[in-house]
Symmetry: C2
């Protein structure tokens, strides 16, 4: 499809800051092929080797904002079935008495529907790619590709499931599976994984000289126990084992000390923060400002819908900023600009999606259209602050992934029956003990 | 207008808990006149003395949820012009160098448009009443009445503006002004108000035996300075001065100690929490769970759009719960049910709107229709948890105040030109130095 957006405000990224350009953005196939004022169109068509007549759609943006889609840099999408099933419980009870027993009853096909449900929610929030750790990854990939959703998967390998051989097999399979699919090495967490398994992961990291991601220092208990077991923090352990030599990073990164931040800064690792989940499960507040000051790449994840429970980047952006201010008791830390960067380009960097990180000619057309003609976006004193501090899913007019419009004016265009997705999700829950 | 909702889930409140009833809800004029299964309609019409044919609209709720509208129990609506104009600053700098100088340039008519803008945003979030403290209160009342929005005003009286006589005049005027308008005694805060002025307010409290609301213990600085000045906390001071004898309460209530909570519990006062503002301005986290345990009536406010910056009850509900969990480092405190009660009936109680607090025959028809056929509301494991933890403005299909539908399917029906409201708000900002 060739799509022309005109009368648009276009959010560009320059040196980790945002600028607004007025004009047109053209999509040819799955790529952005032109950004400019659109004058002298015929000449531009010729230069781009595009016949003038071949627009599939011309969309009047009516002065609204085109911006890069949000990147959800940590989630367990298939946990949609657990949403609101066991909240307001202590973390350990929630995990061991509620989450794990239900997860044990999942079958492969369930993941197709449960992932599809999460993808719908991502689309409503302008999220154009997810970094997913869950089970039955064939079904996850299939659901995403069938819907046109971009997915980066990683492994939740631990003592209770998976082998290093399977991890390698998946790494090779899902990186070549489809243009919407990729895979990053990883495992669940230090506290659920034996030294032997971790050594296996480290072996793959070294073999493929590849980045590695893992749950890292989510809770105080986790870091305390790791220090008891290994005499060092999870980050220091992973570094010592050679797992961070080629990049990657951690999810949560709440209980980081100076040494952990040093390692993340030195290795160019990414810290993916999950403030909604960390607050709701009372895990703590990550030292975001401290990591930012040290130049650590930061990204934002919703975490899974069992802990958050919503998959909404607007809510997460507000939380990232406001929790950082609360943690430091300083309203001046963590500017909206930094948060918006985390939610877009920072996330793309963490996920290995440099081709989708910003609106530029040659980049993949993963973008969203934000309705500025809504009361929460008025007056237009500062666009980035409006997005981070008062933006809402309700402002998402259109979500495009890989050049395809999957969501527009509250309607999904995903080649799946939405009611069937809802029905299947409810049936899966009803079936379980 | 007489409106019949059918095929609805209806959220009822029983003993501070929520129950879902399936059936019909009828609105006659500005009141709810029937809730039931709708069978044997003719008989019901007769009993209600309504002719069968007189439905102005019959709305198929399609299994979606009718619930009481949210009550925004503390705001400064007219601050919409300051949204995103001065964020990420220390609180004192924000207030004295940014907010006050701009506010000084407001003229009366501005408040008409700025309040109207806030009201639009409230409607998108399912908020059906606001408790407003701001300037030019004639214009505020006019904007609300013109739009059909329910408003409870209170005074921001302090050393820099207003007199006790004016407060009394407004109290008398806006309580009889219109059925959508009421007024509660109050002043800005201890730190901005002389003892003499406070004594004047106390005199009115005693004269009218009326409740009184005030900013109370928002920041540590405020409470520290009050203790220096008076040897006691703001709450203790207001109590000693007789201002809390007939009810009312405080906004923020962040830096409360045991004695403050005692007074609130003993006097039946309401604590209005503003978690978005308190987090973003790094003021702290209110002891919500501690107040709940003591039986204090709790309500939720967005605070003004200069500090929050959005006027979204869904975001506030998530924050109330998750910040309380973080404060106590216990994921089990403050159940979603309690938060939903705060956002509806708790707010209504604080605002003196007992006639709008729940869906019951004879109550005012201040209600909203929540779209459950959205991915963030699926599966339907627990409706109240879905609302509090994954709900969003995007789920608000319809907002009705006093029997009138003011917002439906993303469109406003407010007898004002929406574009004109946006234009005026931008012009007001552009005019200022």
């Amino acid at each position: 499809m060739n799509i022309r957006f005109y009368n648009a405000k276009i959010l560009r990224i320059k040196d980790k800051s945002f600028e607004v350009q007025e004009g047109e953005l053209w999509v040819k196939g799955n790529e952005i092929c032109y950004i400019g004022d659109g004058s002298d169109q015929e000449k531009i068509y010729q230069a781009l080797e595009m016949p003038v007549i071949l627009w599939d759609r011309e969309i009047d943006a009516k002065g609204n904002l085109l911006m890069p889609g949000f990147k959800n840099a940590h989630t367990h999408s298939g946990m949609t079935f657990l949403r609101s099933l066991a909240d307001d419980l202590p973390l350990q009870e929630w995990l061991f008495e509620k989450v794990f027993p239900k997860e044990g009853q999942l079958v492969a096909e369930d993941l197709y529907w449960l992932t599809a449900l999460a993808n719908l929610e991502y689309l409503t929030s302008g999220i154009t790619a997810q970094f997913d750790m869950y089970y039955f990854q064939d079904q996850v990939a299939k659901a995403c590709v069938d819907m046109g959703f971009r997915v980066v998967q990683t492994s939740g390998l631990n003592n209770f499931g998976g082998t290093v051989e399977e991890l390698e097999e998946k790494y090779l399979k899902f990186n070549g599976y489809h243009e919407l699919s990729s895979y990053i090495l990883g495992f669940h967490a230090e506290y659920t994984t034996s030294k032997e398994l971790m050594e296996g992961v480290a072996g793959l990291v070294q073999k493929y000289k590849a980045p590695m991601f893992v749950h890292n220092s989510e809770t105080k208990l986790e870091t305390d126990e790791c220090r008891q077991r290994y005499g060092m923090s999870p980050t220091q352990l992973f570094e010592q084992m050679g797992m961070y030599e080629f990049g990657g990073g951690g999810y949560h990164c709440v209980w980081f000390d100076e040494q952990d931040i040093d390692i993340f800064a030195k290795r160019g690792l990414s810290a993916v923060t999950n403030p909604g989940s960390n607050a709701k499960l009372a895990s703590g507040i990550a030292p975001i400002n401290q990591m930012l000051q040290r130049g650590v790449n930061l990204a934002i994840g919703t975490d899974g819908p069992a802990s958050n429970n919503c998959l909404d980047m607007f809510k997460e952006m507000f939380l990232v900023s406001s929790l950082a201010k609360l943690k430091d008791m300083d309203a001046a830390v963590l500017d909206a600009n930094d948060v918006l960067y985390m939610a877009t380009a920072g996330g793309a960097k963490a996920m290995g999606l440099s081709q989708c990180d910003r609106l530029e000619v040659g980049k993949k057309a993963d973008l969203i259209l934000i309705d500025l003609q809504q009361p929460n976006m008025q007056p237009v004193n500062n666009l980035t602050k409006n997005l981070v501090y008062s933006g809402s899913k309700q402002n998402v007019k259109l979500t495009m992934i890989n050049g395809v419009i999957l969501y527009e004016n509250q309607c999904f265009h995903v080649n799946m029956d939405i009611d069937e997705i809802y029905q299947k999700a409810n049936q899966i829950v009803a079936r379980m003990n």
